[in-house]
């Protein structure tokens, strides 16, 4: 059985249908990419996976490791191993990056009936991981995402992912806002997290990211449905032809 199984997923926002029957399954250890035109529902899918309120699932199911995600609140899903690196990370004034990470880790430990993490050891671990992603100590002391540049925000998301070690990661346009060097650093960070037990869903508009993070499978999402699934060559094809085929096909 696949690590993540999405079946016939329909979801709407404020009564407006956005996802109209998505089927997707990702094996443990695999990386899938989703590409698709603006407004096709990519971020919506990521939010539905993460359990955001206001996104109403009207049909279908999502299972992670056999567990029914739709039965769980956002925080329960996170504890169960879902992680969403957001397209637009949110500012938390007054909450330092270090505090935020510690709270997140302790939430998991609490759920597992464990004691709070040792503060000193944790600090060291986070600093080490931060370094590899080019996140400075100064950034960890600042309030989460407040005044961060677009690229810094994205790096910070991947740092959280590295620290929380989720089972299933959704990366929503992590490449947008990253300069060429940062793209490389972040991609290396993501690649370092690839492992046999961990799956990823990478949302992007650009083939370039997929040169760094090589997906096993690529899907094209348009009009709330997966229109095509293929290998790496699909990204190249899209790069050349755009989405015209899919937009028309669905229309």
């Amino acid at each position: 059985m696949a690590l993540l199984e999405i079946e016939n997923l329909h979801a709407e926002i404020d009564g407006k249908p956005i996802l109209k029957g998505i089927d997707l399954s990702i094996e443990a250890g695999q990386v899938h990419a989703i590409m698709g035109p603006n407004g096709s529902g990519k971020s919506t899918l990521s939010y539905v996976l993460a359990g955001r309120d206001g996104y109403e699932v009207t049909e279908g199911s999502i299972r992670l490791d056999g567990q029914d995600l739709l039965e769980m609140e956002a925080d329960e899903r996170a504890v169960a191993g879902v992680f969403l690196a957001m397209q637009y990370p949110v500012e938390l004034p007054g909450v330092t990056g270090m505090t935020f990470l510690r709270e997140a880790v302790n939430a998991r430990r609490k759920a597992a009936g464990e004691d709070e993490i040792d503060a000193m050891g944790f600090l060291k671990m986070v600093r080490a991981k931060a370094k590899t992603l080019g996140v400075t100590d100064e950034m960890l002391k600042r309030a989460v995402n407040v005044g961060f540049s677009g690229g810094e925000k994205k790096r910070n998301e991947i740092l959280q992912m590295a620290v929380l070690e989720p089972k299933f990661c959704v990366l929503d346009e992590t490449d947008s806002g990253l300069d060429i060097d940062a793209l490389k650093v972040v991609s290396e960070g993501v690649n370092a997290l690839r492992s046999a037990g961990r799956s990823m869903l990478v949302i992007t508009h650009y083939q370039r990211l997929l040169n760094h993070i090589e997906p096993d499978v690529i899907h094209v999402l348009a009009h709330g449905r997966i229109q095509k699934t293929g290998g790496k060559e699909l990204a190249l094809e899209l790069e050349q032809n755009g989405y015209a085929d899919y937009v028309e096909a669905a229309a």
Binding site: A50, R52, D53, V90, E91, L92, V95, A107, A143
Partner: protein
């Protein structure tokens, strides 16, 4: 809008959890008869074996109080208080003279345990915190006295001070908050039962944080504490006040007075965490917290800093103030006020600049949830002689849900053209984005709210002494558990 509706729903979902500190200790009380007249005051004074001058002082205050009207200018509403329907004195039956905690009534100790204030543990923490625990109206346990005595620091109940240091008490009592200052202070002057007295001699840096945990325990018992802290030239003291109260159906009046005096180069840091019973979701019960707190920076370069975290009480009416008399003196006010359900808070400060180059800073963080009302009311007054006075004020309000209110009422009066006064104010809401972001990292709704609100209050929280900070952070989370999502 969907996001707002959602927050409201979450607010409602987590409301209705019982007040964690709601329980009642069963210790026989020795009560003064219900009601207030000169006999009551004579009873209190006699119980406490007070000198004649103090009885006269009380009686004079009482006569003035009878001529006064209860103030109605604050943005709070409550049914009329029947001052004749209250008890003004209650004390645990045996008045213990104690040498150690072992001699404290075990039931009392158990009460503190439940509140999470293990005196024993604090004693073991050797010299970190001295606790002058006030149970209802009479001090029953005072620790660390000996260590303090070595430095000449006086830290005792005000009743003791009246007997042991009558000159000091007589010189300073009512010198910052005159007996007839306002309705509630005047009432306190007439009937105050106990509280703390602190004197730090010249040049002494108090070797530990001084801490008092207050606790209201008797039904229908008004609590009238009186605290007086005097920091002599070049001295320093940090004083912590923390409170929780058991659940009660009837409203309880609390009208404390705190007076601080700082001489040349002296500094007083006064921190409060207030967590009295706020009443239930419908606004039934809860403490009326009508407090007068004022500090006088009498000396040059003296400094008084108020830090408060106010999460409890049905009604809070409180304006810890600084009178900046000495040239170059400094006043600070850092405040977090959380109101939830039907709680009402009208709180702020007064900074009265009289001396030259006096400076004041006001940072106020008001958090409102449920149907609660939260008002910041602050006065910055600069006198004619206060050349070069400076004030910076920042008032931030955070709303949770859309049924609560936040109000900012700044008064600025300057009689000196060289004064510089800055005022900044913001109002924001906890966004659904922020909640989701935290939850998507594994935080429960409550923890997410606690984290976001603690972030919002950070500038104030970092002013709290270390010993208090953790407790206060938790308290913020807990107090919003009862009403925020």
């Amino acid at each position: 809008m969907a996001a707002t509706a959602d927050t409201v729903r979450q607010v409602e979902e987590v409301t209705g959890r019982a007040y964690k500190h709601g329980f009642v200790t069963d210790i026989d009380m020795e009560m003064a008869p219900k009601g207030l007249d000169e006999t009551t005051i004579r009873f209190i004074s006699a119980k406490k074996e007070e000198p004649e001058w103090l009885l006269e002082w009380r009686l004079k205050a009482f006569r003035q109080w009878q001529q006064m009207k209860e103030p109605d200018w604050a943005k709070v509403g409550y049914p009329a208080i029947d001052y004749q329907d209250l008890y003004y004195y209650a004390a645990p039956k045996q008045k213990p003279k104690l040498n150690s905690l072992d001699e404290v009534d075990p039931e009392l100790l158990a009460t503190y345990e439940k509140l999470g204030i293990p005196l024993k543990e604090q004693e073991i923490l050797a010299g970190v915190v001295a606790v002058d625990a006030v149970f209802d109206s009479v001090s029953v346990a005072t620790t660390y006295k000996k260590e303090l005595e070595k430095h000449g620091v006086i830290f005792c109940s005000i009743s003791e001070a009246v007997h042991d240091y009558p000159d000091l008490v007589r010189r300073y009592l009512g010198s910052v908050v005159p007996a007839a200052d306002n309705f509630f202070a005047c009432l306190n002057s007439a009937v105050f039962t106990d509280g703390s007295f602190v004197y730090i001699p010249k040049g002494v840096r108090c070797p530990m944080e001084l801490s008092t945990y207050f606790r209201i325990n008797a039904e229908n018992t008004g609590q009238f504490e009186r605290t007086l802290i005097v920091a002599d030239e070049g001295s320093y003291v940090s004083y912590l006040e923390g409170c929780t109260a058991p659940q009660r159906d009837e409203n309880q009046l609390h009208a404390a007075v705190v007076e601080l005096v700082a001489m040349d180069d002296a500094e007083i840091k006064y921190s409060t965490v207030q967590n009295w019973y706020p009443g239930d979701e419908n606004g039934k019960g809860g403490i009326y917290n009508f407090v007068t707190k004022r500090g006088a920076c009498r000396g040059r370069r003296s400094k008084i800093s108020w830090t408060q975290v106010e999460t409890g009480s049905a009604i809070t009416w409180k304006y810890p103030s600084c009178i900046l008399q000495g040239d170059d003196s400094v006043g600070e006010f850092y405040s977090v006020a959380i109101t939830n359900n039907a709680q009402q808070a009208d709180t702020g400060t007064k900074m009265i600049h009289l001396g030259k180059n006096t400076r004041s800073t006001i940072i106020s963080k008001g958090i409102s949830a449920g149907r609660a009302d939260n008002t910041y009311r602050g006065l910055v007054r600069v006198g004619k002689r206060a050349e070069g006075a400076r004030n910076f004020t920042q008032c931030d309000s955070l709303l949770i849900g859309d049924k609560c209110g936040a109000h900012t009422v700044p008064y600025i009066e300057s009689k000196n053209p060289s004064a510089r006064i800055e005022h900044e104010a913001t109002t924001s809401k906890i966004s659904e984005d922020q909640l989701f972001y935290c939850m998507s990292r594994g935080l429960s709704t409550e923890d997410a709210v606690g984290l976001i609100v603690n972030g919002f209050c950070k500038e104030v929280m970092k002013e709290l002494p270390m010993e208090f900070a953790v407790e206060a952070q938790k308290l913020i989370g807990i107090s919003l558990e009862g009403s925020v999502g």
